[in-house]
């Protein structure tokens, strides 16, 4: 059986009733008596007649004084740029309307994007327009100017010139920008005693340390999932958390697309300590606590024959069976298997992974190595040096370029106290955060869409960060801050000068312009590097039985906390748990039952003498003796959105337990905190209706039509299928459930494209989340270790749409191309349509969710989509604005829309290319081919709704040794 939540599995009556109600209690007006009802109605009538008396206000037309080149008013322009996170650049293509960026897309030519983006890149647009951004230079918290800062900073640097910059410390985040690194080198050349520190809470320290142990040098590992038949992830979230996640997702999905008639399909084994996106895509998933994963890797290496068996194995029979089957599978796929260890795992596990890869002959085939793109020096040691200097009082000037170390540094470093001992501190950041509050100077940092910079992709490709708009506020970039003490140039001059020197030649300007157009310098990928293994000696840590551990990982939505003020990300249901607006201590159903804990119960956690109280969330697939914490939530100095959202788990994270904390004590406090999840909302009777269909690759080969067989047969119909066979386009969509990895990018792409508002935690708890496309997660199996399945659900665009029949005002009707339209200006808000929608995809504006008043947010809106007001129903219409623009464009040029030329926002963003949209009337279109596939099925097709959105059943490829 499949289930969505533990309540459903346990058949809790409240869940059953919630499933049958479109709107939860409280969604309609509170009960009123007849008198109050009449009063309200009279008042409503009076108020309703008032706006009818107003005339349309006169709007202004404001033409340019001087027409910018290339710009046609009303038509968008697209520019290439890049966003760096954790040092790694990913190429983007930004849609700009009359000079303001309105949508972020991936850059199809960029190796780290391939046309897709993840949720963080999608949401970065909202950060640009965030009204709570830092807007002015602050000196001791008082508004100041860039000029006074520059004067003070120059004086400071001059005073330390005599002793070669002793006492000057620069703290940056992970840097791959060649320009910034050269600037730092210039500065360090001028002040040889100055020190550069690099720290970011999400880093690759363990991976580099592992590489150093294994190969004697810090090299970067590149995975080629498209060449791998058997993949093992040792706690690595390579599809979501890895810097190269977008490329991984496409390669991984390409190895699984069974509908293309391929003869084989890759197989993914995941051993992990907390349910991740990657784990949810596993054919075989083994929940083990983080300490146990090292043990697992050791046992696997032993079984493979890499080394002689050491201490007697302490594995459970089940795990042993798993290891034996996995080892056999790996040995049968020498050269086409791949083992990857996660950044949260200690270096030993990385060493074991490298050795296994080497043993299996994978190096050079499925994994390759290059020099690292970023400085591989240990970031935690770098920060430790800084802390020592700070506490010793030897820091004259601390320049913090980006980041928020006060919040993110390990708790035992006591960074805030150290910071106060620095004689002078300068902090550059996009928001006034915990660190700015303690610094003498705060400089507002430009958003990447406002500044010139560069960066290197994970494979080394040099990517240019190009601004789309002039700085909205008095911001500066890190380049400009560093240049204050040298030449005082603008960021464009700094970046341009750097490259013109580096690539000096007659054709530089031409190359430069080409790079700006493409978003990257072609052929700047790092060359493959030959590596050779050193001998190794590993003895895994033995875990005390009964000991409880904590794992720390970055928040899947707000990363290390930097996106805490981003409402799109805060409201986005987190993968697997579907929690919104909060983080929690994730624990297993078995452990919760043992401790008598329910969702939202507050517990006290104690680790190395530090305590933290936070609510718990019971997560299927979590190992019993491990609690998973996400860091990033619970910010104290943050804008309006991030206030009171989540709990600060950095307070438990110390430098000796950065990812894994052992010997944790947990105590139930008796308190309760309301956590909000969307997992139980918009649920459809799933059990008997087979709305999610799946099978194994072997099943598919034996019976290719298995997905067509439903337990419910369609009722006889009088409906004529010819009705919608019109001459023009017939839009349709197919979603490949095998390819979908559940990364949520489609949700945010849709939100950004369609001006979808956020509603806040309280409204989400009432089931009023506005996302037009949701990603349902279905579990199958036991709560201890279920299979997880993702199903994106947009509007199905039923040909025979139940919503249309019940609308009293004709606000939801069909058009000739088969779309089920929602006409906002006709809608009067009866909500009958939503009640009659079997797919629960309609969203109602219970309040004025769209912000009509904040002028800084207005340029964010897509000008081609109506901004809906209160009392209006809304839903997906396959990005009708894109269809209209494509239709108009093609008709003006006198041809038909080419297949693949028109993409919906969800399709365009999808890293796995699981969503395909197009003309189903054209048998040669990609979508028609998918719909003709044997795996194609309609969700609730037995209702005769004839949905235009259909699914391709999910295929898994389990190991026969483990299924029997």
């Amino acid at each position: 059986m499949i289930w969505r939540s533990l309540d459903e599995l346990a058949a809790v009556p409240a869940f059953q009733s919630a499933r049958h109600n479109e709107f939860p209690p409280g969604a309609t007006e509170p009960p009123v008596n007849r008198r109050d009802f009449l009063k309200l109605m009279a008042a409503s009538m009076a108020l309703a007649s008032l706006p009818a008396c107003t005339r349309q206000p006169i709007e202004k037309i404001v033409p340019y004084v001087k027409q910018p080149e290339e710009l046609v008013p009303g038509n968008p322009l697209f520019y290439a740029t890049a966003m760096t996170l954790g040092g790694f650049a990913s190429g983007l293509m930004i849609e700009s309307h009359e000079g303001h960026p309105t949508k972020i897309e991936g850059n199809p030519g960029h190796p780290s994007s391939l046309g897709a983006t993840n949720v963080l890149q999608q949401a970065a647009l909202l950060d640009l327009y965030d009204p709570d951004r830092s807007q002015t230079v602050l000196n001791h918290g008082q508004p100041s100017t860039w000029e006074s800062f520059a004067t003070a900073f120059q004086a400071q640097m001059q005073s330390v010139q005599a002793n070669h910059g002793r006492g000057v410390h620069i703290l940056t985040e992970t840097i791959s920008s060649p320009t910034l690194r050269s600037q730092l080198q210039t500065l360090l050349g001028k002040y040889p005693e100055a020190r550069w520190h690099q720290y970011e809470p999400v880093n690759r320290d363990n991976a580099f340390a592992g590489a150093r142990l294994a190969f004697g040098e810090a090299v970067e590992m590149h995975c080629h999932f498209d060449r791998a038949k058997v993949i093992l992830s040792l706690d690595s979230d390579f599809l979501y958390g890895h810097p190269d996640n977008l490329r991984h997702a496409l390669a991984f999905a390409d190895g699984r697309r069974a509908q293309s008639g391929r003869a084989d399909m890759n197989r993914l084994y995941v051993v992990e300590s907390s349910a991740s996106v990657t784990g949810s895509n596993a054919d075989h998933r083994l929940p083990l606590n983080a300490t146990g994963i090292a043990r697992f890797a050791y046992e696997l290496a032993t079984r493979l024959g890499l080394m002689a068996a050491g201490s007697p194995s302490e594995l459970t029979p089940e795990t042993r069976k798993w290891i034996y089957a996995l080892a056999d599978d790996l040995l049968q796929n020498e050269g086409t298997s791949l083992v990857i260890a996660g950044e949260n795992q200690p270096p030993d596990v990385h060493v074991l992974a490298h050795n296994i890869n080497d043993f299996l002959g994978n190096i050079g085939h499925t994994v390759t190595f290059t020099e690292p793109v970023i400085n591989p020096a240990s970031q935690i040691e770098s920060l430790r040096d800084l802390i020592a200097a700070l506490h010793a009082g030897s820091v004259e000037t601390l320049l913090i370029l980006g980041g928020n170390p006060t919040f993110t540094a390990p708790a035992d470093f006591d960074f805030p106290a150290g910071l106060l001992k620095a004689k002078s501190c300068i902090h550059l950041s996009t928001e006034v955060n915990e660190t700015s509050a303690l610094c003498e100077w705060h400089i507002p940092q430009n958003h990447f869409l406002e500044s010139w910079s560069d960066g290197r992709a994970f494979d080394g490709t040099v990517s240019i960060v190009q601004p789309l708009i002039l700085p909205l506020y008095a911001g500066k970039s890190a380049h400009e801050v560093l240049d204050v003490v040298t030449l005082g140039r603008s960021d464009y001059d700094i970046v341009h000068d750097f490259w013109s020197q580096k690539m000096a030649g007659l054709d530089f300007e031409k190359n430069w312009r080409q790079a700006l157009h493409d978003g990257y310098f072609a052929n700047t990928r790092l060359p493959e590097k030959r590596v050779s293994l050193r001998t190794f000696q590993i003895t895994p840590v033995a875990q005390k039985t009964g000991s409880l551990e904590i794992t720390f990982s970055p928040d899947p939505n707000i990363h290390d906390g930097r996106f805490a003020n981003n409402a799109w990300l805060q409201e986005l249901p987190q993968p697997v748990t579907k929690l919104t607006w909060d983080n929690a201590a994730l624990l297993s159903p078995g452990f919760a039952a043992k401790e008598g804990l329910a969702n939202g119960d507050i517990v006290d956690l104690e680790l190395n003498g530090r305590r933290l109280s936070l609510p718990v969330w019971i997560t299927p697939g979590q190992p019993d003796d491990s609690i998973a914490l996400h860091f990033g939530g619970g910010r104290s100095h943050v804008g309006r959105v991030g206030k009171n959202a989540g709990f600060n788990t950095y307070t438990l994270r110390t430098s000796d337990s950065l990812y894994i904390g052992r010997d944790v004590r947990m105590q139930k406090t008796g308190g309760h905190y309301p956590l909000v999840t969307t997992q139980t909302q918009h649920a459809i009777d799933s059990e008997e209706r087979q709305i999610f269909r799946e099978g194994t690759f072997a099943d598919f080969k034996a019976d290719p039509e298995f997905a067509k067989k439903s337990s419910e047969t369609p009722i006889e119909t009088l409906f004529k299928p010819e009705e919608f066979k019109t001459d023009g386009y017939r839009w349709g969509m197919a979603i490949d459930l095998t390819a979908c990895i559940g990364c949520n990018a489609c949700i945010l792409a849709c939100q950004s494209e369609n001006n979808i508002p956020v509603v806040g935690k309280d409204q989400v708890s009432k089931g009023r989340i506005m996302h037009w496309i949701r990603v349902d997660t279905y579990f199958r199996g036991t709560p201890e270790n279920p299979d997880m399945n993702h199903q994106p659900v947009p509007c199905m665009q039923c040909e025979n749409a139940p919503c249309e029949l019940v609308c009293p005002v004709g606000a939801t009707v069909h058009d000739k191309e088969g779309l089920n339209l929602q006409v906002y200006n006709r809608c009067v808000g009866t909500r009958y349509c939503s009640n009659n929608c079997p797919y629960k995809v309609r969203r109602f504006n219970f309040f004025q969710y769209a912000d009509y008043h904040d002028t800084t947010l207005k340029p964010l809106w897509n000008p081609n989509v109506t901004v809906r007001s209160r009392g209006v129903m809304e839903k997906c219409t396959y990005c009708i604005q894109r269809i209209s623009m494509a239709r108009i464009g093609s008709e003006e040029q006198g041809h038909k829309i080419q297949d693949g030329q028109l993409k919906t926002a969800c399709q365009q963003v999808c890293p796995a290319r699981a969503i395909v949209f197009g003309d189903i009337g054209d048998p040669k279109s990609a979508v028609s081919k998918l719909k003709a596939n044997n795996l194609n099925f309609s969700m609730l097709g037995e209702l005769n709704t004839r949905p235009r959105t259909t699914y391709l059943a999910k295929l898994r490829n389990p190991n026969p040794q483990l299924t029997t």
Binding site: Q56, I61, V65, Q67, V72, P73, V813, D815, I880, E892
Partner: protein, 217 residues
Amino acid sequence: MAQIFSRRSDSILRASLLLLLVVTLAGAFVLHTMYWSPYATRETVPLDQPVPFSHKHHVYGLGIDCRFCHTSVEKSAFAGVPTTETCMTCHSQIWKDAPILAPVRQSLATGVPLRWNRVYDTPDFVFFNHGIHVSKGIGCATCHGQLDQMPLTWKSHNLYMKWCLECHRAPEKFIRPRSEIFNLNWQAEDQLVLGKKLVAEYEVHTNQLTDCSMCHR
């Protein structure tokens, strides 16, 4: 016991009912008249502008083509309003000191754009596209009227949805050859015969024209 109602009560009641009917009908008539009146629609009402620009002078008098100023009318949703530089192309030579053009010169000097009042303003939930209308044979004059006769610009039609649908339901009544789009004085000899021919020739998808999604998204 005395009668509660006097003999006159019946008459008063009848008169009141009649009055109520008259007041209701009169009210409805007033509202209807107002709704369709230039007061509400601003049809034929010239709007104040920062510079009293005359289409009559520039189009009829000087014969300047529409596209000289409205540059994006064939390729964008928005027809385009001339930049200050476009105005100054001529007015840096002719009437270069005219007081009436002071705001234009000031705009060029300061870089602050002129702020024109929008004459044709559809509601924000309507997405009108100039480019497709022009390419399908709808002339400027069909919606904008005899602009060459307007000293100050006014709306020629009320822009109510009913008016849009007059053409969307029967484009053959309004369509014209592409060569005559910018000719404000063009008249067909037999519009219906020509219209039907052009609708077919220009591939106007008449079955789709009244879909809500044509204009609303």
